[in-house]
């Protein structure tokens, strides 16, 4: 609250100078089922820049918001996983197209929020856009790369193909709010999963900007749902939720072990934090992460059929 008062004083001083045009600020909301609601709890929390200046109030999600996000993701799963791989590829490419048009917004956001220098911010934004292009190209490749026919000892057609696991909760990297976020979300949905994303707690604004891109990129509502707030508050409910099929613990930090323990109750799949965790946006620059972030959220289905006349 102290920060809010300081900010209010600053605002008051500026108001006294009466600018030629008052800028229109953005309300940062959640993104659930294709809509932008506030938290049902009516709560928000202040988001500050690297040097402590107040940037905006983000929605402080509640347990109910988390449950709503899972419901939205489950509802969207059949439709999204049922689309053709080519169609999913085009939609992910469309995300990159729309991001490209908003380069300036994303760059400014990184500069303001993290004190990143402008050249560095440009690099991160470019890599984030390219990440969506990268996974757009994977949608109709991974099944051939990961699946195949199996030479069994008998007169049987036998074929294994990967299928999406279902609803994946993604704890986005705390210290990589745009490139890290894109790097963990895009592979989950590229293969047909739907996602509930818990944004970086200190840096949720880029995630909300990205949600606005998703909302205008033909990504069906509910495929990616975004929660902002306290990882330690909503995370336990998501980790233990019986209708969640997998967790990406990239940004779970100190909660990772507790979330993995909670996930065990319903054998929810878990991707543990990797070496990128805690190493900032630059740790996510590798332009070719391969299938490493797709395969943890895939199930292999093997189908047998006799061969005969």
């Amino acid at each position: 609250m102290a920060e809010r008062r300081t900010d209010a004083k600053k605002t008051a001083r500026k108001a006294a100078q009466a600018p030629a045009r008052l800028s229109v600020r953005k309300t940062y909301k959640l993104y659930l089922g294709g809509a932008f609601p506030r938290s049902e709890s009516g709560r928000s929390y202040p988001v500050t820049s690297a040097d402590g200046a107040h940037l905006a109030n983000a929605s402080l999600s509640s347990r109910k918001d988390a449950r709503d996000a899972v419901v939205a993701a489950r509802k969207a799963f059949a439709g999204w996983s049922g689309r053709t791989a080519y169609n999913r590829g085009q939609i992910l490419y469309r995300v990159a197209e729309v991001m490209e048009g908003r380069r300036a917004q994303f760059t400014d956001q990184l500069v303001a929020a993290r004190g990143t220098d402008r050249t560095e911010a440009e690099t991160i934004v470019s890599a984030a856009i390219d990440r969506w292009v990268y996974y757009a190209g994977w949608t109709d490749k991974f099944a051939q790369v990961i699946g195949g026919s199996n030479p069994v000892s008998g007169p049987y057609y036998n074929h294994s193909a990967p299928e999406p696991t279902g609803v994946v909760v993604v704890f986005a990297p705390q210290d990589a709010p745009l490139l890290g976020l894109s790097s963990v979300v895009a592979p989950v949905v590229a293969t047909g999963n739907t996602a509930v994303v818990v944004a970086s707690e200190p840096g949720p604004l880029a995630a909300v900007d990205l949600a606005e891109v998703l909302a205008t990129s033909d990504v069906p509502g509910g495929v990616i749902n975004l929660l902002t707030g306290r990882t330690g508050e909503i995370g336990p409910h998501l980790a233990a939720h019986a209708d969640v099929d997998a967790l990406d613990l990239s940004g779970a930090g100190e909660h990772a072990t507790a979330f993995e323990e909670a996930a065990a109750q319903t054998l929810t799949r878990v991707l543990r934090p990797g070496p990128e965790d805690g190493a900032g946006e630059r740790a996510w620059l590798d332009p070719d992460p391969g299938t490493s972030r797709m395969s943890p959220f895939l199930e292999t289905k093997t189908v047998w059929h006799p061969i005969g006349v």
Binding site: T257, A264, K301, W304
Partner: protein, 478 residues
């Protein structure tokens, strides 16, 4: 019921098996007694006679086994070329083939399953599993798992009693092919073929410590998977125990694969070849006394053919021969243990209490040993326990459906997702159904087929990871 052909008894000879009275643990290439001196007795479930006593490994024994596996991994097995590792596995596969009759008889005695199955399924598949993985050992960089895939280290492996030697092969073959060493705990009621396998490791001159076998019950298994010195845990067994293991490895560096329970749906459409479907249903639920995690334990039959199918099914089930597992004509052997028998009875009785109709053919069950007649439950609805819980016995729950959408919805209405079956003569309907079933293995117009080249494993609460095929290697490489 019409006359059934009578068969003269045709028991397989036990003379190929030489049982020792006591078996020690297999650690670091040799047999060593358990520090505690505790032991358990393995029974023949067909007549409750004692077969042998087996050492119970405690924390010190497990620790010694893990250390031996570590030493062997770092100094011998890890540095060895893939081609040489592969040759050991080829050698083991050949010895399993050579000693297959002995092992089949021993497995039947220790487990209770018919000799027909151990001889024609368990043993050939176990040998095939080693032969298949032997060939991978020097080709791992071609497996699509990175250009320089590395072994994880020491694998802790805990296996169930339903396919003792085959599950051992599923665990040990891929682990060894990928350069890992293992500490394996067989099930407490079926440890004997694993101990003969230990002798086979000696016979193959497998370097000491590459394979370690620690016998015991649940406590030994828990000690093993929780041991800080293991890098990988692989478990096949119940979902309840699987949950506990997943919780125990949370926050550690240990990699985990779990192959757990199932409640497989076997869907029969109205255009199915009914006689073939009947054979598939029988294989689906009565193979191995129904002690099969991927059993087709829920029959979903389209309403329009339900009456006809059930009448043919009952006629077929009446011809199942239940009895001496060592008899070559036996179709259905003994239930593996008294515990399992009481579990099957309890859940099946609950079905009757909930109002389902219970049917078994007239059959004389032996007086000694653990036996349960093949059973059909009809009038089952989705909320009944017999439709929801894994019975793990020769008990089939029959439900009906009207539309393909209803069949899929009912098939998927379970926390499990291991197997499913589809019977139809229409290809597009088969593929439509298979695509929508949330199960790791879908058998269409067949059931319960297994092969080392075919990935096996579940969706949802049936576990995670795959065993077999190129996919199965992923669980043992970093």
């Amino acid at each position: 019921m019409a006359e059934i052909l009578e068969y003269a008894p045709a028991p397989e000879s036990r003379s190929v098996v030489t049982l020792r009275e006591n078996y020690d643990l297999f650690v670091d290439g040799g047999f060593v007694p358990a520090e505690s001196g505790e032991s358990l007795t393995s029974l023949n479930p067909a007549d409750e006679s004692a077969l042998a006593t087996v050492a119970v490994a405690g924390p010190t024994d497990v620790d010694r086994a893990v250390s031996a596996a570590r030493q062997a991994q770092e100094n011998v097995w890890g540095p060895m070329s893939g081609a040489e590792r592969g040759k050991y596995l080829f050698r083991i596969a050949r010895i399993l083939q050579e000693r297959s009759r002995e092992l089949a008889v021993l497995e039947t005695m220790d487990n209770g399953k018919p000799i027909k199955e151990t001889r024609d399924v368990d043993l050939p598949l176990a040998a095939a599993h080693f032969f298949y993985h032997a060939g991978w050992a020097d080709k791992l960089h071609h497996a699509g798992l990175g250009t320089d895939p590395r072994p994880l280290g020491v694998a802790a492996q805990v296996i169930p009693w339903n396919f003792p030697l085959l599950m051992l092969a599923w665990k040990i073959a891929p682990a060894l092919a990928t350069g890992n060493t293992v500490v394996l705990k067989p099930a407490e009621t079926t440890p004997l073929t694993a101990l003969v396998f230990a002798e086979i490791c000696q016979e193959a001159d497998l370097p000491a410590g590459v394979v370690n076998i620690v016998t015991g019950a649940g406590g030994t298994g828990r000690t093993l998977v929780e041991h800080p010195g293991v890098d990988k845990v692989a478990f096949t067994g119940s979902t309840a125990v699987g949950r506990g293991i997943a919780r125990a490895v949370a926050g550690t560096r240990k990699r985990l694969t779990l192959e757990l329970g199932g409640k497989g749906a076997n869907i029969v459409y109205d255009d199915a070849a009914l006689d073939q479907a009947v054979e598939g249903i029988v294989t689906g639920i009565f193979f191995n006394q129904g002690h099969v995690c991927c059993a087709g334990s829920r029959l979903l039959v389209q309403e329009s053919v339900a009456e006809e199918l059930l009448s043919r099914l009952k006629e077929r089930v009446s011809r199942i021969r239940v009895g001496d597992p060592l008899d070559k004509n036996t179709d259905l052997g003994a239930i593996n243990s008294a515990d399992q028998l009481s579990r099957i009875r309890e859940v099946t009785d609950s079905g009757e209490a909930e109002g389902v109709e219970r049917w078994s053919p007239a059959c004389d069950l032996p007086t000694a040993g653990y036996w349960f007649a093949p059973t059909l439950l009809t009038g089952v609805s989705q909320s009944h326990r017999v439709a929801r819980e894994e019975i793990f016995g020769p008990v089939l729950s029959v439900l009906t459906f009207r539309t393909p959408e209803e069949a899929v919805a009912k098939a998927n209405n379970t926390p499990y997702g291991l197997s499913a079956g589809v019977w139809t003569e229409k290809g597009s309907r088969m593929l439509w159904t298979a695509e929508r079933l949330r199960a790791g293995v879908v058998w269409s117009n067949t059931f319960n087929k297994l092969d080392p080249a075919s990935p096996f494993g579940g969706y949802k609460e049936s576990g995670y990871g795959r065993e077999g095929g190129r996919h199965g290697l992923e669980a043992y490489l970093g």
